[in-house]
């Protein structure tokens, strides 16, 4: 159904980060917000994406924010880097979704929700460094990878899943020895993202816990946050609720904290 060759081909086809993005990230990395915003403005698609994302209700701005330097100023270095990585992830997304009932708008919505709630979580955990903040940007890449690999085999997958409750990650691991999060980690390497982003993403699958306790803790929060969002009607209807197995035991020790933070009653 899906072979290792097909995965390799997919990874091979991932374009390197465009020059303007690399430059923007490098400037953000050295704290040069104004210079970074000027470079970002030269990439029209990035500029459009930034405006569309930060003007979503979840960002809570009362007036429309149009200027890129203003956006970077509001988001700060950490938030700007995260948003640029969010944009990079969208570069992988298909123009037409077939496996999941998504479109650009709903996908951006998922990114925005994850990003804002991740910010809240990191504040709660007192871990506000920019790489940790940016790690959430790669999480939805797992959805894009599942779409890309399985969209041509929708009927096969339906038939298989009518007989056994297998998630896409398990199917991929059993067929190719490689899961969605391994592929996400490879994307992080290809895009020269900081190493810990790949590590957090890998551990957030809930299947390969990290030996680093700090990364593991972040991964638990990320795993639970993902399923908190995938339980929202918009994403349940998109068919995302069961694209991945929710590892309830993995997040058992942080659930109460999470529920308090997200005000779940």
């Amino acid at each position: 159904m899906i072979t290792k060759d097909k995965i390799d081909e997919f990874i091979e086809k991932i374009p390197p980060a465009p020059k303007a993005l690399r430059e923007t990230l490098a400037l953000l990395n050295s704290g040069e917000l104004i210079k970074a915003s000027k470079v970002a403005q030269t990439d029209l698609a990035l500029a459009k994406y930034l405006k569309s994302l930060v003007n979503k209700p979840i960002y809570g701005f009362s007036h429309e924010v149009k200027d890129i330097s203003q956006i970077f100023g509001i988001l700060g270095v950490s938030g700007s880097q995260q948003t640029v990585y969010n944009y990079m992830t969208t570069l992988l997304s298909p123009s037409k979704w077939l496996l999941f009932k998504l479109n650009a708008k709903t996908f951006y919505e998922l990114q925005a929700r994850l990003s804002k709630r991740w910010e809240l979580i990191l504040k709660h955990l007192g871990k506000e460094d920019k790489n940790t903040a940016s790690s959430i940007a790669l999480l939805p890449a797992s959805i894009i990878v599942a779409e890309a690999l399985f969209c041509q085999r929708i009927e096969d997958v339906k038939l298989l899943r009518s007989a056994k409750n297998l998630d896409y990650n398990t199917i991929l691991i059993r067929l190719c020895g490689m899961g969605l999060f391994d592929i996400c980690e490879q994307i992080a390497v290809k895009w020269e993202m900081p190493k810990e982003i790949g590590e957090i993403i890998q551990a957030s699958s809930g299947l390969k816990p990290s030996s680093n306790e700090e990364i593991n803790l972040l991964a638990k929060w990320m795993h639970l946050l993902l399923f908190y969002e995938l339980s929202q009607p918009l994403f349940v209807e998109a068919g995302l609720n069961d694209f991945l197995d929710f590892q309830v035991d993995f997040i058992g020790d942080i659930y109460d904290d999470f529920a308090t933070l997200m005000e779940i009653e």
Binding site: K164, N165, L175, F246, V248
Partner: protein, 464 residues
């Protein structure tokens, strides 16, 4: 979201958070319709991967439960929960618990009438005495050996004795049970449990497809456990008379055991006897009388109805049957499956040792049965994607082979429907050895195709 069906039980597995906002998204109108159309004994919602739920979150499933019960009388409820969730559901619904609660899906299977692994020693405990009894009765009816712990202390002591019981049941509640006719298989006899008043509803409660399939695969003795029947009316009488006539075509026997005719007119009994139905007072009168069992046909599963031959239409569609098998094996193994030879013959299996088989029937515009025979090790390889672990557990391998053959059946159904041929598929059946398979198909002719993937050979046989 759709239910995954196994062993006659359809299970939904929502994940994450179930509240009033999200839960309606889990079940669309089409999902509910598809669920009510399923031919299953139970529809359950697994809470294994739900970390939070409230009453509003569960209410959408209540609507589903109500529709399923109205339409096909299946048992409905929740499974796979811990004590905290069990208590929460009890608090939410208190005296309106018309649904059931099974601590695990394996416990639910014990209560499912389609599940054929009987004779399990099952330890039961519930705080509610009537629940303890209800569970014991249900389990007994399904062919298990229930042992009731009368107190929590007794339950703790007994359940701590690991290995003493095949299953231990607590935190389980039987709501309004399904009204389908429970079915169990003892040797080569099929026992149906019927109860209460038998009226026109018997025809909707009785799984006629299962019965016909059982006749087709070679069962010849059908026993109705009628100890709990109070009376029957003329509609039920007609139903059983017709059932007896169709059984006669197969040279099969239908018996009633324990039927009390106090509240049913004697002429009904005479009519049923005229139709060929036999009456016995006790189940043991049949099951412990080997001579009688043999006479009634239970010692042989041979299909003695006129042997049906592979017809032209089946041969025309043969490539689609083979395609369905080949494509499924390719999907499951990521390797190329190759057809090596095909011949019309009686099934020929050269080396019977260490081989297992699975079959699935189809009926509708076309009817017949597909059989796959694998060497045990090759079956394991073919099922690797579904098993996901290295195992030598033969029950698990057989279970998974049934899932594989179910996928083949699903694909056959799709491929045939592309040709405007409408068929339904039966539940898959597995055979742990070749002799039990041969006993069923005997000398029926069919198309035998040798197939292989990665040089591993297996056999496909299509018969009617």
């Amino acid at each position: 979201m759709r239910a995954v069906v196994k062993n006659g039980v359809g299970v939904f597995t929502p994940q994450g958070f179930l509240d009033g906002n999200s839960s309606s998204a889990f079940l669309s109108i089409e999902d509910i319709e598809a669920t009510t159309a399923l031919d299953v004994d139970m529809i359950l919602v697994s809470l294994k991967r739900v970390v939070f739920f409230n009453k509003n979150g569960l209410d959408i499933f209540m609507k589903l439960f109500s529709k399923v019960r109205q339409k096909n009388h299946a048992t409905v409820g929740f499974c796979d929960y811990d004590e905290k969730k069990y208590k929460a559901i009890n608090v939410f619904y208190q005296d309106k618990m018309y649904f059931s609660l099974y601590k695990t899906i394996d416990i639910a299977y014990l209560f499912s009438s389609s599940f054929q692994k009987q004779n399990k020693n099952v330890l039961i405990y519930s705080d509610d005495k009537s629940q303890r009894s209800a569970m014991a009765i249900e389990l007994h009816d399904n062919g298990h050996n229930p042992i009731i712990a009368q107190t929590k202390q007794e339950f703790r002591e007994k359940s701590s004795n690991k290995g003493a019981y095949d299953a231990v049941i607590d935190l389980t509640y039987l709501g309004q049970m399904g009204q389908k006719i429970a079915t169990r298989v003892t040797g080569n006899a099929i026992i149906y449990s019927i109860s209460s008043f038998l009226d026109a509803e018997i025809s909707s409660k009785f799984n006629i497809q299962y019965h016909n399939n059982s006749l087709n695969v070679g069962f010849r003795l059908f026993i109705f456990d009628a100890y709990k029947v109070i009376s029957m009316n003329v509609h039920a009488l007609n139903f059983f008379s017709k059932l007896a006539s169709s059984a006669a075509e197969y040279n099969a026997n239908i018996c009633f055991v324990g039927m009390d005719f106090e509240k049913t007119t004697d002429t009904f009994k005479e009519t049923l006897e005229d139709a060929g139905i036999l009456f016995y007072d006790q189940m043991d009168d049949i099951l412990k009388n080997k001579k009688l069992l043999k006479e009634l046909g239970a010692s042989s599963a041979a299909n003695t109805k006129t042997k049906r031959v592979i017809n032209k239409q089946t041969v025309t569609e043969l490539p689609r049957f083979i395609d369905a098998t080949v494509v499924t094996i390719e999907m499951m193994t990521n390797s190329k499956a190759i057809k090596q030879s095909a011949e019309v013959q009686t099934i020929t299996i050269k080396d019977k040792a260490d081989k297992i088989a699975s079959s699935i029937g189809y009926y509708g515009d076309l009817d017949g049965m597909v059989i796959l025979v694998f060497p045990k090790a090759i079956a394991k390889k073919a099922c690797e994607l579904l098993i996901g672990e290295n195992t030598n557990d033969i029950e698990l391998i057989l279970d998974t082979l049934a899932e594989l053959v179910n996928i083949v059946g699903g694909r056959i159904k799709t491929l045939l429907s592309d040709q405007n041929i409408s068929v339904d598929i039966t539940l898959p059946r597995t055979y742990s050895n070749i002799d039990s398979l041969l006993e069923v198909i005997q000398d029926r002719k069919g198309v035998q195709v040798e197939l292989s993937f990665n040089d591993d050979k297996f056999l496909f046989f299509l018969t009617r």
